[in-house]
Subunit: 325 residues, 2 copies
């Protein structure tokens, strides 16, 4: 179980290595939403997503001998890049299992950051069996993408920053909307807010049809998405929340929100025009919820996490073609 | 004449109103350039460019009665938006003269920020005469876009931040490349660096064929571009450096660098892929110089200012179509 102490400790290990991202806003977005929107742009984090935080936290928590043998990760791309860069900077070998249909940019970047990338087929290969064999063969330590206390603690450092930055801007009461896949970022931020800004409430945001976390919140137990692919928000199509992340979300988070693919693309176009940020679809869902689901949000100002920006140019062009003014 | 004391005083007035933008980097950009590149993203400043700094500095330096009568500015767009937002927040009326061929996004934004926008024809209208008539009629105070000590002092706050941030990252010796139109940002940063980080040297970067500042540095007197339009870098096509900015640049700056339109577009595409930033062509020229003119840069790491991101979607698409991987 992750705790605020683990998050504070991760923040110490991350200091000078991860970026403290700023807090942005635009009067034009506020007008659309009918309330103030504060945007925490984790697309500006190293490797283009918040995942570097959890990767650095997990790798620096390993003993030096274990780390030197190397780490193993599986990921559709953002965790992969986070692990690859953290491993490179810490001098550890990294083997990464990535699905064949992951965005080309994410596969290329992970390779370019020095990781040994192995591709698998989401539908036919048994990723866990492949991983277990690789780990045994090379003595690698598996770093899970979200259901891992040190990863959750690393992602939670985003929540410490939000608590401090929102308070500086006079926002101490309201919802904090977070793009949610397996729940590592959401649970980490929820823990941090609970301890440091208890009137700010974390809420998961997912794509329509892939709202396993919201469904799990509603039923009170871990639910699974029917499909595992077929949505533009590739970064957050995790089948179900984790056995560590879900209890935290269940206890601490407000209700989940689901947004459409079009809303994610529209939010990307508005982030382009109004914030000068490049967001990927999965990284834009929380902004989409703030802009296009105002009735589901409580209180005045809202904080949204823009969790990643690793998008191929073709997808970005689609967002501009369809929604940029 | 602007001084470091004026810049420090502007920094005090800007605190809590302008954003302290972060310092970004990417190992992929470093590899292309063959050296470390630190990017100061002023596209993330309010209104999408550094111009808000100078606008806020100038407007807060006015007496309350003068300010209440209103301000006048002329600008192709970024100064316009900076003045419009600063005036709105300070409760002052703003009248802005903009060329008809300014990017639509910039004209629309300036209007949406509450300014009274009047369009003029660059080739046939006498902008200064139009402005003088308006100022007299309404009792407005002209805020020049660059050749104005309080504006230079405001832009110079960027240099204070660069000095502190670069030093924190271990960079105390090297070139600081700055997109340069009339020289307000360049001269302000040069003054700040000269006082706070004297081994960092400011250098202006301009578009090929619009390198009036570089030509002026070479001849030692103010030179003028032959053309006033016809380049994609609309934000920095100023005909010549100012009578206040040029002596500062002449004394303190290293040699100017000129880049092609293609290089600016290529730098925009790389900022998209590697930094998750939206840059406009004129805001990308310093990054272009760092990436594509490495032999003209001295020492190891280089700092570049990414000065603005107010670009129409069509131009951004062109950059992606031609240069994104």
């Amino acid at each position: 179980m992750s705790t605020i102490e683990m998050i504070e400790s991760a923040a110490t290990r991350l200091a000078g290595h991860a970026r403290r991202t700023p807090m942005l806003s635009s009067p034009f977005l506020d007008e659309i939403a009918g309330r103030g929107i504060l945007v925490k742009p984790e697309c500006l984090q190293h490797t283009g997503s918040f995942k570097f935080r959890g990767a650095w936290s997990a790798l620096t928590a390993l003993g030096p001998k274990t780390r030197a043998r190397g780490v193993l990760a599986y990921s559709s791309g953002n965790h992969a890049q986070g692990i690859a860069l953290a491993a490179k900077r810490l001098g550890a070998p990294a083997v990464i299992l990535m699905p064949k249909d992951a965005p080309k940019l994410k596969i290329d970047n992970t390779r370019a950051l020095g990781a040994d990338v192995r591709l698998f087929d989401r539908e036919t290969d048994d990723r866990d069996a492949l991983g277990a064999a690789l780990a045994q063969e090379h003595g690698l330590t598996l770093v899970k993408p979200f259901d891992e206390p040190f990863v959750i603690a690393g992602q939670g450092t985003t929540g410490l920053e939000i608590a401090a930055q929102a308070s500086q801007l006079g926002v101490t009461l309201g919802d904090v909307l977070i793009p949610c896949g397996g729940g590592g970022l959401t649970s980490g931020i929820a823990l941090a807010l609970n301890a440091r800004a208890p009137r700010l409430r974390a809420r998961p945001v997912e794509p329509d049809g892939f709202d396993d976390v919201r469904q799990s919140q509603l039923s009170g137990r871990i639910e699974k998405n029917e499909r595992t692919s077929g949505n533009i928000c590739d970064a957050i199509l995790t089948p179900s929340p984790g056995s560590i992340t879900f209890p935290i979300i269940k206890e601490l988070c407000g209700p989940g929100i689901a947004v459409s693919e079009d809303q994610a693309l529209h939010a990307m176009a508005l982030a382009f025009t109004r914030l000068k940020l490049v967001l990927e679809p999965g990284g834009a869902v929380a902004l989409a919820a703030a802009l296009f689901h105002p009735a589901k949000i409580e209180h005045g100002p809202v904080v949204v996490v823009a969790s990643g920006g690793n998008v191929d140019a073709a997808v970005f062009r689609t967002a501009l073609d369809r929604f940029a003014e």
